[in-house]
């Protein structure tokens, strides 16, 4: 009998530290599946960011460089330029990529760096306990927007997949979610497509993944997953915003 569910070889056999219902673990799994699919695990160098995903090296069985908060795209630039034959990806949260590291991601994308960015948008700063993120939705209550995000004071949620798509240097930019089996399949496919852009040297690829943070949203895992469909997807449209040939 064929096993239908196997741990990807790119993932280590350890329990994660993620909260129950957190979708980081699922996204890790999809990234590892894509690595296995292309057989790139032996060549892979991951660049970890600062946030709940900082322990990338604990879960992926790959070489890893840890970057300062927001700087993963610059570190990945240095890594990929130094080792162009390796497979390189960053894995970053929304505080990391869309606030403190906005400059680094935009310019790496614009230079058309040949690494892949996995961007986990959970509309909050998970690791630091639930502050407002650049992606927090209008009206969203967080530690630092206790009355709800007021766009006249705090500005608007940033749609990074669209921002990246607007840059000539970016070859592929997509937004996916992992809140339903159908969306998970689409996400798995998008991550593989993004990886193929690097492998085939077609250019910079960016995958924004909408993700639940039940802990900081003050919700159960089920409620949090429902919020993705009810509140996030209407604001952050799923889709492919750039797909260069």
């Amino acid at each position: 009998m064929q096993p239908v569910f196997q741990r990807p070889i790119s993932l280590k056999d350890v329990a994660t530290h993620f909260c129950p219902g957190c979708q980081h673990g699922l996204i890790h799994r999809l990234v590892a599946d894509a690595m296995d699919h292309f057989g790139v695990q032996p060549q892979t160098i991951g660049v970890a960011s600062v946030g709940c995903s900082v322990f990338l090296y604990e879960y992926f069985d790959i070489d890893v460089v840890e970057a300062p908060h927001g700087r993963a795209p610059a570190v990945a630039t240095g890594v990929k330029r130094a080792r162009p034959d390796n497979f390189v990806f960053t894995y970053q949260g929304d505080g990391d990529l869309a606030a403190i590291g906005t400059s680094e991601i935009i310019h790496a994308a614009n230079r058309g760096e040949l690494f892949t960015a996995i961007f986990v948008n959970n509309t909050t700063y998970g690791m630091t306990g639930g502050q407002m993120a650049p992606t927090s939705l209008p009206g969203q209550r967080t530690l630092t927007s206790p009355e709800g995000r007021d766009v006249t004071i705090d500005g608007y949620p940033m749609r990074m997949a669209e921002v990246i798509a607007a840059l000539d240097g970016a070859a592929y930019s997509v937004r996916v979610a992992v809140n339903s089996p159908k969306n998970i399949l689409a996400a798995a496919k998008a991550i593989k497509t993004a990886f193929s852009y690097q492998i085939e040297k077609k250019g910079f690829a960016f995958v924004e993944v909408l993700s639940a943070c039940p802990t900081n949203w003050g919700m159960s895992a089920v409620q949090a997953n429902e919020r993705v469909a009810k509140e996030m997807i209407p604001y952050f449209a799923l889709g492919t915003f750039k797909e260069k040939n």
Partner: protein, 357 residues
């Protein structure tokens, strides 16, 4: 084979880096070091190396971090305000035990200040400007030849002791032209292999992880003691200085880099005038040449320290000299028209010679 050519100090840094095998340069434009990236842009692209003009100094230091994590010699250069922006990255490199060269062709400050030669970044370089408590190699060239030689030395020490290296100079040394002999580089045969560099696992059993996060019980404390141990070894083995007229000196003049050049002329004037004045110039600022200062002040009990600042290195001089030696300071904080002349320093020598301790 080595030939002599007339080049500017900044170009000598670039040539030294290329000679040392550096093929990765990441930077952001700022005066007065722009001839370094201009030279590197041309040469590295010809050699198949990597030159990136990054979006900021923050990005460039992190690109350096990435290339260094892969095990390659890599560098960035900038000037004071840009070096401030690199401090976060330097701290992460130190925490991650990564080598790499950071060149600071200092300009005056604080803030935007001006572009005149300055030595006011001594504290930032030597005491380290990032968070967390770490050390970096710091070298201070005073001639075009040293811009070349100390760039190479900085790469070697940085690799050997697994810590970033800072080359601290200013536009006086960076822009003057002198004859340079490009000695071919032979890497020290005992430089340890970079068995920590990320390559992709390639079938290797253990992962290689370049990081500065240590959360396990006692782990970070041990890590800090390990870094401390390397810095102590560096201090024990790698102090470098230049001394002249030390045997009979009754007044010792010291300074580093550009100030030392001017001071040296003043010392020669003093000797011509029959004054027994000695000269001691730190070449490595970290490790500081404590031993040379101790030895020189065993007999000479008065030291004049000259800096292009309100006084920074003088603190290390005071810590290093014999207990009964007196240290006096003469400084010109940087700015237009603030560069001291040899005659001015000769005046200072006169003022202090034969008086006090």
């Amino acid at each position: 084979m080595s030939e002599r050519q007339l080049v500017a100090g900044n170009i000598a840094v670039a040539m030294g880096a290329l000679a040392a095998g550096c093929r990765y340069y990441f930077g952001y434009p700022i005066t007065p070091q722009s001839d370094i990236p201009a030279y590197m842009a041309g040469e590295l692209r010809k050699m198949g190396g990597t030159f990136i003009q990054a979006e900021s100094e923050i990005a460039s230091i992190n690109m350096l971090l990435g290339a260094s994590a892969c095990g390659f010699r890599a560098m960035t250069s900038s000037s004071s305000p840009g070096i401030s922006l690199k401090q976060e990255g330097i701290s992460y490199m130190a925490g991650s035990e990564l080598p790499g060269l950071i060149v600071n062709i200092c300009r005056s400050g604080p803030g935007l200040g001006g572009i005149d030669p300055s030595q006011a970044d001594y504290f930032q370089a030597v005491k380290t400007g990032g968070h967390g408590g770490y050390r970096t190699v710091v070298v201070a060239p005073a001639s075009v030849q040293e811009m070349y030689d100390l760039t190479i030395l900085a790469f070697d020490l940085s690799d050997r002791y697994r810590m970033p290296a800072v080359l601290l100079a200013d536009s006086l040394v960076g822009q003057m032209k002198e004859a340079l002999e490009c000695k071919p580089y032979v890497p020290p045969s005992d430089l340890p292999a970079k068995a920590w560099a990320v390559t992709g696992k390639q079938g290797r059993k253990d992962q290689r992880i370049v990081k500065s996060l240590f959360l396990g019980e006692g782990e970070l404390e041990r890590h800090n003691w390990k870094l401390w141990g390397r810095a102590e070894e560096l201090k024990a083995k790698e102090q470098r200085s230049e001394g002249k007229y030390l045997d009979d000196a009754q007044l010792l003049v010291t300074g580093f880099g550009s100030a030392a050049r001017i001071a040296k002329s003043a010392v020669e004037m003093a000797r011509t005038a029959g004054l027994k004045v000695g000269y001691l110039r730190p070449i490595t600022l970290f490790p500081f040449p404590e031993v040379a200062f101790q030895q020189a002040t065993a007999t000479c009990k008065k030291v004049l320290c000259v800096e292009l600042s309100t006084g920074q290195m003088v603190e290390d001089v005071r810590l290093s000299v014999a207990r009964d030696a007196e240290v006096v300071f003469y400084g010109r904080p940087p700015g237009t028209g603030s560069l001291p002349t040899p005659e001015e320093l000769f005046g200072q020598i006169h003022k202090h010679y034969g008086k006090g301790a």
